[in-house]
């Protein structure tokens, strides 16, 4: 397999992971206006949970699901009991989530030590499929498949269900949504839990590829930020396109200009900020 194809497959896989991370981030930011700086921590903590479950001999997908559910519960608790008290106060919310991200990072360092953990690729996903004369590793394809399935599920949820309509109403105008009887604060908790769970799920899915190590949270958070700035806040399509764009830029940038990989990530963000500040798929909120 040629280098370029390997890179492309890796890029798509990373794009899939980034979508799992940033879809929730984008929804939380779009719906609740909460700049959730502990989203990278959800990803890392979820991955550590998954590593622990896998160490007990659990099935890979079951571990990912369980980790996602656990993190959704933690996320819901944080939203319900702490962030709720700071509704509408952006700066305190930022500082609270930032403070928590430091606490989580240090606790992870205490429990899982500073050594990286890299679970083996799950047995059922080892190997490669052959298409014509090209081989594609199954595990990477599985990440993309899962991300696409979740993207479609989220799209159906947001665009085609009653719940989704309520969420969109909450995004567009929370006070009016409340007036017509939508329980926006319950939706907030739900969306926050969903975002936290998705990030944790993504963390486990990516663990055999990225491995889990201290600082993973601080590495993923800016990627989620860039994806959301690129795609536009609150836009799922934007998160999807932004994720794959960043996936490609990150992998190709690392391969071609290893010193400047981060600068290359930043260029499209710069262009979007200058030319289209609301993001590629964002709407201008009046």
């Amino acid at each position: 397999m040629s280098l370029w194809l390997t890179l492309a497959v890796n890029s798509i896989a990373l794009g899939g992971l980034l979508f799992l991370l940033s879809a929730g981030f984008s929804l939380i930011f779009g719906l609740m206006r909460i700049p959730n700086l502990m989203h990278g921590s959800f990803f890392m903590l979820g991955a550590y949970f998954g590593v622990t479950f896998l160490g007990k001999g659990m099935n890979f997908f079951l571990a990912a699901l369980l980790s996602g559910v656990a993190m959704a519960i933690i996320g819901a608790a944080i939203e319900r009991f702490l962030l709720r008290r700071l509704a509408g106060q952006e700066l305190p919310q930022v500082l609270l989530t930032l403070g928590f991200s430091f606490i989580v990072a240090d606790i992870c360092l205490m429990i899982w030590t500073g050594d990286p953990w890299q679970p083996p690729t799950p047995r059922e996903l080892v190997g490669a499929v052959q298409v014509a004369s090209l081989f594609f590793p199954i595990y990477r394809l599985a990440i993309v498949a899962v991300a696409v399935v979740i993207a479609i599920a989220l799209w159906l949820l947001v665009d085609w269900t009653r719940l989704g309509a309520m969420i969109r109403a909450g995004v567009d105008d929370a006070p009016i949504a409340r007036v017509v009887g939508i329980k926006v604060s319950q939706l907030f908790t739900l969306v926050f839990a969903l975002g936290a769970g998705l990030a944790a799920f993504g963390g486990v899915m990516g663990a055999p590829y990225l491995s889990v190590y201290p600082g993973l949270d601080a590495e993923m958070l800016p990627l989620a930020l860039i994806v959301v700035i690129l795609g536009g806040t609150g836009s799922l399509l934007g998160a999807l396109v932004g994720s794959f764009l960043i996936g490609f830029l990150y992998n190709f940038g690392q391969a071609m200009f290893p010193d400047l990989a981060y600068v290359i990530l930043f260029l499209p963000m710069l262009l979007v900020l200058v030319l289209r500040p609301q993001g590629l798929f964002g709407r201008v909120v009046t």
Partner: protein, 331 residues
């Protein structure tokens, strides 16, 4: 004593106590901590221009601080003189600040914060990954401290005096800035951006200039940092540094002159004390953040001032209340 005389008196006492600090402290270790407090206070004052007076919360200021430190360190490592290195560092930091400002000021509020965070992380990535330029994780060593006007800064005492001079200049420039029409217009853009715009002020330009002022003093603090430690590594550019300096501003109280200084004192002392006993500074930092947000959201200095005023009013109210009660005619 009038409150103005009280303030002048307190300021003079503080000045004398701080200026004579190496004499009454004596111990090198504590003098060094005092130097750290002073240059962190300069950094916190710089960030306070944006956070306190501009209402623009930046989480990427470590990048400006480190940009100055790295530029000076790399220039010195390349064999240039101290003057050239520091001048270049300030110019480069100002240019970086301008670029940051142009990008981040596309937005305000959370958007501003997110963009500065992303920009800061990108510079962290450069410091960490562009090893051929920045020496990556190994950092940059600075062999010697400078000797401005023939005054050697090698000892703890001498370095403290130099830092103190810079600190006093920074406080004075902030005091002038706060009282100037520019400071007033910046506060105007914070409180009523649209009204300022309608009054004919160029809101964007005011914020841009404030960012440059903030970047300038961040850069000065960064140069002091690199001379103090004689070393700089990507750790300095990390989000933790931006968060720490923001904690200094917020814990002390935003939009006050004394707040960032008090905040820097608290955070630096706490960091040194905590680090001496346990390795869990980040955990403590996080807990302080959460605790301050939950219990004293206005910051320590305004919080204390509020309590002080309430206490004084209570004291004054008591004697006045007594005759009233007597007039009630109760036994």
């Amino acid at each position: 004593m009038s409150s103005r005389a009280l303030r002048v008196g307190a300021l003079s006492v503080a000045f004398i106590v701080l200026a004579a600090l190496p004499i009454w402290v004596g111990n090198q270790y504590y003098i060094n901590i005092a130097s750290q407090i002073l240059f962190w206070a300069v950094f916190a004052l710089a960030l306070n221009v944006l956070v306190g007076y501009g209402g623009l919360v930046s989480l990427g200021h470590a990048a400006l601080f480190a940009m100055a430190g790295y530029t000076a360190g790399l220039m010195l490592a390349a064999g240039h003189g101290h003057f050239a290195a520091d001048l270049t560092a300030i110019v480069v930091t100002l240019i970086t600040s301008a670029v940051f400002a142009v990008l981040a000021l596309r937005s305000t509020g959370i958007g501003f914060l997110m963009i500065t965070l992303a920009l800061g992380q990108i510079l962290w990535g450069i410091a960490y990954r562009w090893a051929s330029l920045t020496n990556g994780d190994n950092g940059v060593n600075v062999r010697s401290r400078p000797a401005p006007f023939g005054f050697e800064l090698a000892t703890a005492d001498a370095f403290y005096y130099a830092t103190f001079v810079v600190f006093v200049l920074a406080v004075m420039s902030m005091a002038v800035f706060v009282r100037s029409p520019f400071g007033a217009s910046l506060r105007g853009t914070r409180d009523q951006a649209r009204r300022m715009n309608a009054l004919g002020y160029n809101v964007w330009l005011i914020r841009f200039l404030a960012f440059l002022l903030s970047g300038f003093w961040s850069g000065i603090a960064g140069i002091l940092f690199v001379y103090y430690n004689q070393f700089i590594s990507p750790q300095v550019v990390a989000l933790q540094t931006s968060a720490e300096v923001l904690l200094m501003v917020i814990s002390g109280g935003t939009a006050t002159l004394l707040g960032p200084i008090a905040g820097a004192t608290i955070v630096v002392i706490m960091k040194n004390v905590v680090s001496a006993y346990i390795e869990r500074w980040n955990l403590v930092l996080g807990i302080i953040f959460v605790a301050i947000i939950s219990f004293m959201p206005e910051g320590l200095v305004p919080g204390t001032v509020r309590l002080w005023r309430m206490g004084r009013q209570a004291l004054r109210a008591k004697p006045a209340a007594k005759p009233d009660k007597l007039r009630d005619g109760r036994p």
